[in-house]
Symmetry: C2
Subunit: 426 residues, 2 copies
């Protein structure tokens, strides 16, 4: 199918054929959901041994009674696991509660209101605040910016990561730019891994940008490979080498490793930054849930055990990704109907329709019983300027459900595009 070269007759014929297919789908009264980037029940069950795993021994390796108050930094062994996931020193990591999003908020709040280098360094004291958001991206990051009064500027995502020419130009020309959001491995939603060159240039931004600038590095899918473990350049090592280690803050969690809502989250930054951050963290918390951290360490005592555990996740996820990618390939390879990456991990496949079609596709699919993430959700303020991007999240449905949902999706993408092209020609 190639719409740009198709005659009006051809388009009309396709429209009739696709409309019939769509009507048949509607008649099936489906109820399928590709919206949620969360683990399936089968994946969650991989960690069910955590309940009862302590067997009366609530002591951490250093003898701490995890049941009591205290220990703001988290258990040493949990910090070590976080350090291994993120590739930093154990002294640069805190192991905290169940949400890396909360840690991102706390870190951003610290930068905006309290200041990493004392009250005068608080971003809000320096006029307007802006963040660079590579798009498509993660809506929760955008919400954090909105909540804290930070304006957002977008740059395009490429197959190698953010368009670094655009990023470098922005940070050098606009001193209000305080940071950039990054999901460096299996990026949400495009699934790409940032190239070594991109990571090196991100590490170098601290030298180009205004003082206090921070790369917010949300490494949510650091160990979430479907096949072999794919490498990602070490941001902190590169920043250390560049003398910009105070310009990067990193996040990870076990949310998509153990139980999504009951995991352990990690934040990593230079020891100087951490010392500052702990002052505001210590005002708002007596310490994280150490018992839950201990449960995690008994289940996954080190990075190797964790990587073995992730292989079980991959076995469950792989056929779902295969179903999505195979449907897209069959329907759209060699056409002018859309573009997508082929992620080797993470939770999403990101599909770009022809311009101006995404909202209509999501609406049509919903009317046929297939829920998709709202079009625009992957852009700041919910505004996809070209109305193209749709995030597909195949982890929760069964493989058969994914196949069924993709059948609908493909039909809707084609039908909307054909109708649009027909309208263009008339």
């Amino acid at each position: 199918m190639n719409l740009n070269n198709a005659s009006k007759d051809q388009l009309t014929q396709w429209e009739q054929q696709l409309s019939a297919e769509y009507a048949a789908i509607v008649a099936r009264k489906l109820s399928l959901d590709l919206t949620r980037g969360k683990p399936s029940s089968d994946q969650l069950s991989l960690s069910d041994a955590m309940d009862g795993i302590l067997k009366g021994n609530y002591k951490s390796q250093d003898g701490t009674d995890t049941r009591n108050y205290g220990g703001l930094e988290g258990l040493p062994e949990a910090r070590q696991l976080g350090a291994d996931i993120l590739g930093v020193k154990v002294t640069e990591v805190l192991a905290q509660g169940n949400s890396s999003l909360t840690l991102m908020f706390q870190t951003l709040l610290h930068a905006v209101h309290f200041g990493f280098e004392g009250p005068d360094s608080a971003w809000r004291r320096q006029g307007p605040m802006k963040f660079i958001c590579p798009v498509p991206g993660y809506d929760r990051h955008f919400t954090l910016c909105e909540q804290l009064g930070i304006d957002m500027l977008t740059v395009p995502m490429t197959a190698d990561g953010p368009d670094m020419d655009a990023v470098e130009t922005l940070v050098q020309t606009d001193p209000a730019i305080k940071g950039i959001w990054c999901v460096p491995k299996y990026s949400n939603p495009t699934g790409v891994i940032y190239s070594d060159a991109v990571v090196a240039r991100l590490a170098g931004l601290g030298k180009l940008a205004s003082p206090g600038f921070k790369v917010f590095w949300d490494n949510a899918y650091a160990v979430h490979d479907l096949g072999d473990s794919l490498p990602l350049a070490n941001l902190m090592d590169l920043a250390r080498a560049a003398g910009t280690e105070n310009s990067v803050v990193q996040f990870a969690s076990t949310s998509k490793i153990t139980h999504a809502g009951a995991g352990v989250a990690f934040v990593a930054m230079s020891e100087a930054n951490l010392k500052s951050f702990k002052q505001s963290l210590g005002a708002q918390s007596i310490g994280p849930d150490k018992v839950n951290q201990l449960r995690h360490m008994r289940l996954l005592p080190d990075l190797n055990a964790l990587l073995q555990h992730m292989k079980q996740h991959a076995e469950i996820l792989q056929p779902r990704f295969d179903a999505v990618l195979s449907a897209l390939d069959t329907a759209f390879a060699g056409t002018d109907l859309g573009q997508w990456e082929k992620p080797a991990g993470g939770y999403f496949v990101s599909f770009d329709t022809r311009p101006g079609c995404a909202k209509a596709v999501v609406k049509l699919a919903a009317e046929a019983g297939v829920k998709l993430t709202p079009a625009g959700a992957t852009f700041p303020y919910g505004l996809d300027p070209e109305d193209r991007n749709i995030r597909i999240a195949p982890s929760v449905p069964t493989v058969a459900e994914v196949v069924g949902a993709m059948d609908v999706f493909v039909t809707c993408v084609k039908l909307v595009a054909v109708r649009q092209q027909l309208a263009n020609l008339s």
Copy 2:
């Protein structure tokens, strides 16, 4: 012992005698600690059945898979327990993570920066911010104010609660006053329960104070009775009757019920306030650890089960409180050496030395191997203007250790006071 009426000879004799006693204590090379308001290991063990209590069933009463993301408000059954503890409607409570302190920070942050009635109502947009702090009080409350740039004004605590004449005068004369901290039952550290009249007047402050004023009601010891369950007037009922329900926010947690660092915290407020608060909470969290909430509900399915559980805590705590109160009574009843309340619950006994003695007592006790909470810690900015108040926390040591530590404490109080009086006379 009565110092005001004692002759110089008598004081000199006491000084010599007490110095000798103190020297004998130092020779014993004690290492005791009365600083920490946290449960003992025996108390924590009362809840050890939580590990393994789920037995593979991770579903809440409404069928939610607690392992996955979501559920910002907390499990319905956990919210019900919080509602029962705080005496509010279930729709007025959120069940959250392991720290009520964090909820207090988040609530205060919402009021200061985001605004309960929209951005224009944010306290920071209205000039200077002040809080009333009844003293002695809880140092963590003061730290929250300092962290968020809120100045603190003190009012005296009485045996009935805060001095409400002073409080009412302040809120009517200073529009910068945005709130008041309250620990209404077994107050930290004096151990008093606010009288019905005081609670009613607190509920009425919303009518006297400037718009947006909030009573921060930290009911940390709501069910922490040593003997019979003692009543506390219902703040929300009184506020509802007075039409001031938007002027109260309440907090509680299971920290001193189950595992101190791994409990469930609750925040309660009017439905209008909650709707506003959830907007900022929802930006920073995808939801609390519902698995841990489920563990709690399996251990303590309702308020009655919880109250039975608290009786076991009381059995452990009672002899420790008896040891403190009996030592104080034996040493100081009928003297002019100090004052104290006799708490029937909570975690503390608060002792007021003669003016100007508290720091010296804490120092002398430390030199004899007995750690006490730093003098001044119970006042904003760490400044006790009369240098009188010392917080005694007897929960962690054994009964024998409490007896030994109180022996040292009593000797130090006497010795410092006698030396001071001698110095006054010379």
